[in-house]
């Protein structure tokens, strides 16, 4: 009878497995913890396997004894109950033995933990700031800083388009780091708690507003590594991924140079005059990355959630100065953040221009980056 039940169980399991398998394409059945690409992730993996096997061994013994007893010591087989109900020596054994096993686990765990918490002698420090719902990175001492946001199109999320290979795990500006260098992250947050986590790097740490947390990693292999925010941070918690690109030293230096050049170009670009077409093009991009989550791509906002529309709004069609102030400095006590600290002059000029000339807003106004610069 029991055997038939076990059979039924297995068939049911296999059934669901098949069903699930049929549902998804390119099934990659990852069952275990990722080994990752750093010494920390490798150590975590080794510890994980050690404890897992110890648990399996204990499980085999305990469940084994239990199933033997279920099979043999059953009334239907005429088993008569024994009368023993205590044994001090046995009790002592199964208190002491697990304790010793635990000590055996604690020793390697302690070693690993000490190594993880040692952030000294780092080669590079990056400040990471969690925002609702994006990440900001500052390369300390290099003057390179940028915001990193999700690039997966809304259409893919809403199932109107096929999902891409890195669905929800792709960003506009990945963090680039050199391989074989100890990179130290200084993690903080702008609004609520977040947590920075890339599984392949073997470590996560909370981002706490007002406080700075540390963690480090040393990537051994070039590649692109993806992770996500791991602490509930509100509506779009699931939509603020992390992408780390590890490059060799030369490529990394090249990237740094390019970044600086791009920032310089932007700084220089702020002084020249931009055409309407240029600003509209750049503005659409900046709007979709920074504004569309609340005000929506069609400019109509989300009335139910309290996000006002910009289409035909007095702000986006009225005096330009108030509009610029709003974008740069936000509105106190609302979700409208101050973008002056996050966006450069060109992007702010572009966004304002875009908002004043889209969705039927036809003010024809054009604001130059140099005017934004002057307003700062």
């Amino acid at each position: 009878m029991l055997v038939s039940k076990v059979k039924r169980w297995l068939t049911a399991l296999a059934g669901t497995a098949l069903l699930a398998n049929a549902g998804g394409a390119a099934a990659e059945w990852k069952l275990n913890l990722r080994q990752g690409v750093t010494s920390i992730s490798q150590e975590a993996y080794d510890l994980h396997m050690l404890i897992l096997w110890i648990c399996v061994a204990i499980g085999v013994v305990v469940f084994g004894a239990m199933f033997i007893s279920i099979i043999k010591h059953r009334k239907s087989k005429g088993a008569k109950p024994a009368t023993f109900h205590e044994s001090t020596s046995v009790e002592i054994v199964w208190t002491v033995v697990p304790f010793l096993i635990l000590i055996g686990m604690a020793i390697p765990a302690t070693k690993a933990l000490i190594a993880i918490e040692d952030t000294s002698n780092s080669d590079l420090s990056i400040k990471v700031t969690g925002y609702q719902w994006k990440w900001g990175y500052d390369y300390l001492g290099e003057g390179v800083s940028f915001i990193s946001t999700l690039t997966t199109p809304k259409e893919q999320i809403l199932n109107q388009q096929d999902k891409g290979e890195n669905y929800l795990l792709e960003v506009d500006n990945p963090v680039v780091v050199p391989i074989n260098k100890k990179v130290r992250l200084l993690i903080t947050a702008n609004d609520v708690l977040h947590a920075w986590w890339v599984p392949d790097l073997g470590m996560k740490r909370d981002a706490i507003p007002g406080f700075v947390n540390e963690m480090w990693f040393n990537i051994e292999k070039e590649g692109t590594y993806r992770g996500q925010c791991a602490e509930l941070c509100g509506k779009d918690h699931g939509f603020m991924p992390i992408v780390v690109v590890a490059k060799n030293e030369a490529d990394y230096q090249q990237w740094l140079t390019d970044q600086k050049a791009a920032m310089d170009a932007d700084a220089a670009g702020a002084d020249r005059d931009w055409s309407m077409a240029e600003l509209m093009e750049r503005g659409e991009k900046a709007y979709n990355t920074n504004c569309a989550a609340c005000h929506q791509a069609n400019g109509e906002g989300l009335k139910a959630a309290g996000f006002p529309g910009l289409k035909g709004s007095p702000l986006a069609t009225g005096p330009m100065d108030a509009h610029l102030q709003m974008v740069m400095n936000g509105k106190p006590d609302t979700a409208m953040a101050a973008f002056g600290g996050q966006l450069n002059d060109i992007d702010i000029a572009a966004v304002v221009t875009y908002e004043r000339n889209s969705w039927g807003n036809d003010t024809g106004d054009l604001i130059q980056p140099s005017e934004v610069k002057a307003a700062r």
């Binding site: 069903l19 699930a20 404890i51 010591h73 009334k75 109900h85 765990a109 809403l158």
Partner: protein, 524 residues
Amino acid sequence: MSTATTHDTHHEEHPRGLLRWVFTTNHKDIGTLYLIFALAMFFVGGAMAMIIRAELFQPGLQFVDPQFFNSMTTMHALIMVFGAVMPGFVGLANWLVPMMIGAPDMALPRMNNWSFWILPFAGIMLLGTLFMEGGAPAGGWTMYPPLILQTGDAFPYLIFSVHLLGISSIMGAINIVVTIVNMRAPGMTMMKMPLFVWTWLITAYLLIAVMPVFAGAVTMLLTDQYFGTSFFSAAGGGDPVMFQHIFWFFGHPEVYIMILPAFGVVSQIIPTFARKRLFGYSSMVYATASIAFLSFIVWAHHMFTVGMPLTGELFFMYATMLIAVPTGVKVFNWVSTMWKGSMTFETPMLFALAFVVLFTIGGFSGLMMAITPVDFQYHDTYFIVAHFHYTLVTGSVFTLFAAAYYWLPKWTGNMYDEKLGKLHFWLSAIFVNVLFFPQHFLGLAGMPRRIPDYSTQFAEFNMMSSLGGFAFGLTQLLFVYIVIKTVRGGSKATDKVWEGAEGLEWTLPSPPPYHSFTTAPEVK
């Protein structure tokens, strides 16, 4: 007060109809109310889980928006913890503690009435937030600031309902302690008490110790939001992490509040169906007490990633690992109880056996995440979700089912339908594993918890988990049918009900008289 009744007839004078339930001070009536409330909340919370699993059935956003999804995870947890599991065990305590220790009723019957009737109001207030401007609380049941302070109009209602739930639990716990300490029949010494009574005594002390701390923590949230204090705001010299410390100082004992009575139930059921005395009674009592003690010094293992000093992390890692010792002792004792017994496998026993296996699996994953360096990987992933559902669903909820089947014949005087009971067990046991086991894999592969949408690599296991979830949810309707059928009739149960049953409650008729023991039995 508790000895006001002197009749030993079954026909007491008490109001009939609805008023009987509103004004009742009888431990059986109140126990029934608690159990019905818990079952109702189990389905409300379960419906929310179905919404969560439906949204996670496939990648992409299909049914709900992310904010509502967060409300669902938050409310599901609050309802299940405070509405289903805790009241479920309080209901059992109400029914069983007086019958097990040879008392006529609970020590404080009027307070008993209040502690139940606060619950529906707290529950309605909490559920009412679903219809408020800004939506139901969506900051997680852990209510971490600053996020929870972004809750809309629902915020004060959330805090007040938590206060009410806390007051109800505290009153219930005081009543249980007083009953156990003062109302035992002559000869019922502490070390002769059934283990269910022991585990509830310890649980009640835990409740009395930590519910007020929790009330304090949410009060601080309230004053931070409305009265300008800054306990948890860095701007005023506070610290958001401090909330997590206070919360988990409550939260970890709370976890044991939900599992210790389950240990007690299993320790009653296994000896009955193994027809053999519980192995190592006194070590069971000591193990329970040590688990309760340890629960006060391990809280920070819920927050290893906040950035504690190394010494702190080491302390909490070692203390957490230690819990494995008394928990192991309990499992070994249960297995030894079965060893060389004469076992039969009625529905309560099946649930109890599944508990031993599946709870132990939850215990193993708990041990794994005690190891701080690896917990940095597990933390806030589906591995954690899998872990605590193994301990809470196959742990606490399975034991509540086991207890219901075990004592239902005593409570109603009718046997439940054994065939249907077994069907309920097997469907539950299979689907709960289809539901939660794949979540281990998801977590290890890197899927964070509390996300409404996920990358395509997680699709297969999420779909499997959702299917298991729907099936598990549907299966529970069967339980309601079985219970209603049993209450309505069925073959008459004997007083002893189970061949191997031991204990005072089995010396009473089935169903037992309105007041359990009007003359105290003599315990030898």
